[in-house]
């Protein structure tokens, strides 16, 4: 998983930096501030997203994620700060901005008694150079559903229709807010595949999520937002690494050995015995070093397990509200 993730990420970054060389950033937000009366939803948020990047906005409920995105797409007016989408201001240049930005809003539905094709064709007619309907429907797995009423669609199908509407205008930037909330595991994975396909067409994706696995799997970089501030901004893997510098190797030795054998290695910081198990903490190429050292002493390490920290650890460590890390679903109620 970790290796796979690394490759994807590097490929994404290479692509992103290549594009960046040809134009400015797709999204640039500097010192955004927005409060609702006395409640400061966004205190100071800045980040910049390169073209072709999948950029995640992560954070606990009420952290200011949705408000940030709503300001970015012109649904709300920021109190301070600047927002540029492909160089356009969401308010001053709203006509052009709406043509290049496709949006999937959290909690937005369609009338029960409209058919899928009727909804899609209506939204399609809003854009000067729209996408091909049959292709989009095929990619989104909505083929054969065109004649169905919105009412009869499953949660996953509604979500995919919502994504289809975000992409129907061939946007340069797609903003997806809590895209997979409420989907079953199968539908979530399908949605992830879809996002990667969309990015491969050169669309920049701004993804608001509170699912760690989703951010880890999809995002080139994530901004971790808490209490209206960006508390961390990096690739998911780097954030995870920052969360805990140390790795832990756990194994059962084939024969007893002296701790000194391992503690004298520069990579090893600590060696503990727990019953049959030995737990070695350290950094760098810990597994290889430990196994080679044991091997030289004629000891074999059995049942080796490597425990490396992940994005979820980073999230819990960096934000004030850990409840979200359990993958609990919820709304941004507090921010509204």
């Amino acid at each position: 998983m970790a290796l796979e993730l690394g490759t994807t990420r590097r490929a994404g970054q290479a692509k992103a930096s290549h594009r960046k060389a040809t134009g400015g950033p797709a999204v640039e937000i500097t010192h955004l501030r927005k409060s609702y009366g006395p409640l400061v939803a966004v205190a100071d948020v800045s980040f910049s997203v390169a073209e072709g990047e999948i950029f995640g906005i992560l954070g606990p409920n009420g952290a200011g994620k949705t408000t940030t995105v709503e300001c970015a797409i012109g649904l709300r007016t920021a109190d301070a700060g600047t927002i540029r989408l492909m160089g356009l201001d969401p308010h001053a240049d709203r006509d052009e901005m709406h043509q290049i930005v496709g949006v999937q809003l959290q909690a937005s539905a369609q009338p029960d008694k409209l058919r899928v094709s009727e909804i899609i064709h209506m939204y399609r007619s809003f854009y000067p150079d729209p996408a091909d309907v049959s292709e989009l429907i095929e990619v989104l797995g909505l083929a054969g559903k065109q004649r169905d009423y919105y009412r009869s669609l499953s949660g996953g199908q509604r979500q995919r229709l919502s994504v289809a509407l975000a992409l129907i205008g061939r946007p340069k930037i797609a903003v997806l807010d809590e895209m997979t909330t409420g989907l079953d595991p199968r539908a979530r994975r399908d949605a992830w595949d879809l996002i990667e396909k969309v990015r491969d067409r050169g669309v920049t994706i701004l993804l608001v999520t509170h699912f760690m696995d989703e951010a880890e799997r999809l995002c080139d970089r994530v901004a971790l937002i808490d209490n209206g501030h960006v508390v961390a901004l990096d690739s998911p893997a780097s954030l995870a690494a920052q969360a805990r510098g140390a790795k832990t190797v756990r194994f059962v030795p084939s024969a007893p050995f002296d701790d000194q054998l391992l503690t004298r290695l520069p990579e090893v910081t600590q060696v503990e015995q727990h019953g049959r198990h030995v737990i070695v903490s350290g950094t760098g190429q810990l597994v290889t070093t430990v196994i080679l050292a044991l091997g030289a002493a004629g000891v074999t390490a059995l049942d080796v397990e490597l425990d490396s920290s992940n994005l979820e650890d980073a999230f819990v460590r960096l934000t004030s509200s850990p409840s979200i890390a359990e993958g609990r679903t919820g709304t941004e109620g507090a921010a509204r």
Partner: protein, 279 residues
């Protein structure tokens, strides 16, 4: 409709191309915008047909009552208490107003509120199309239904039940138009006051029934005590019935009920504009 505005979701201001933008697309050409509006209207018309609250209350109910009243034997005898008119003649404008009220106070608000409740106005404000277009499209569709109600009720009553033809077509058209605008403006107030489609239907019902009393649904205005008649003259539905009835039976209606309807149109439209929430 132009009085409905909000800072975050208002119609797009004239745009200026950003200097740093690589190749800003031109604002959508007029034909594209016309097609988009046409598609919104088409979907709203489909919804009006498929969720027929407005159609059942506005068209079916008055036509059914028309048929029932047309079959009551005593209803086609001229009566002194109705100033020489038949009871059926008296009920035609009342049923017309009944249909328009159900449409304006229940069909229209429920359609408007459900779109807001579903987040469709919000969703539209992230597209090149301003969300006010959806309201305009709904208004247009309901307006067409209102005109259809007027035509259907009049044609049915005259052709099938021998009601007398209107004395002043122009006066009737003006009275009907002002009745529609006044009632629709009141419907917008209901839509603005209601949070959900369910509460819109409750508020609409609570508004429609007392007002229908003053329109003479239970007791025709001619039979009301003078006090009630005076009150009725100043209620939107009472003024509407008065104006329509005069146009049908006497000639061009007097100015008073027309002014009352015009005043309600303006006041209710302003109140609705004040109260309306886009989210």
């Amino acid at each position: 409709m132009s009085s409905l505005s909000s800072p975050a979701l208002s119609s797009p201001a004239p745009s200026s191309p950003a200097p740093s933008s690589p190749a800003p697309s031109l604002p959508a050409p007029r034909r594209l915008r016309a097609t988009a509006f046409g598609n919104i209207v088409r979907n709203e018309a489909r919804l009006a047909w498929r969720r027929p609250v407005g159609l059942i209350g506005g068209v079916a109910l008055p036509v059914i009552l028309l048929v029932v009243f047309g079959e009551v034997p005593s209803f086609d005898k001229a009566s002194a208490s109705f100033g020489g008119l038949t009871a059926f003649d008296v009920y035609v404008p009342i049923l017309l107003v009944l249909g328009l009220s159900f449409l304006a106070l229940m069909g229209l608000p429920m359609a408007l509120v459900s779109n807001r409740q579903l987040g469709i106005l919000r969703r539209l404000s992230t597209t090149p199309v301003p969300p006010s277009w959806l309201l305009a499209a709904q208004f247009l569709v309901q307006l067409c239904v209102a005109v259809a109600i007027v035509l259907i009720v009049l044609v049915t009553s005259i052709t099938a039940f021998g009601a007398s033809a209107p004395k002043s077509i122009g006066g009737l058209a003006l009275a009907a138009l002002l009745a529609i605008t006044g009632l629709f403006a009141l419907g917008l107030v209901v839509a603005a006051a209601a949070k959900t489609a369910t509460s819109a239907s409750v508020i609409g019902r609570l508004t429609v029934f007392p007002l229908m009393f003053f329109a003479g649904l239970w007791l025709p205005r001619e039979l009301m005590p003078q006090v009630l008649q005076d009150i009725s003259n100043y209620t939107p539905l009472g003024a509407a019935v008065q104006a329509l009835q005069d146009a049908m039976q006497q000639g061009f209606p007097p100015v008073a009920p027309l002014l009352v309807l015009a005043a309600y149109t303006v006041v209710f439209a302003l109140v609705a504009g004040r109260l309306f929430q886009w989210e």
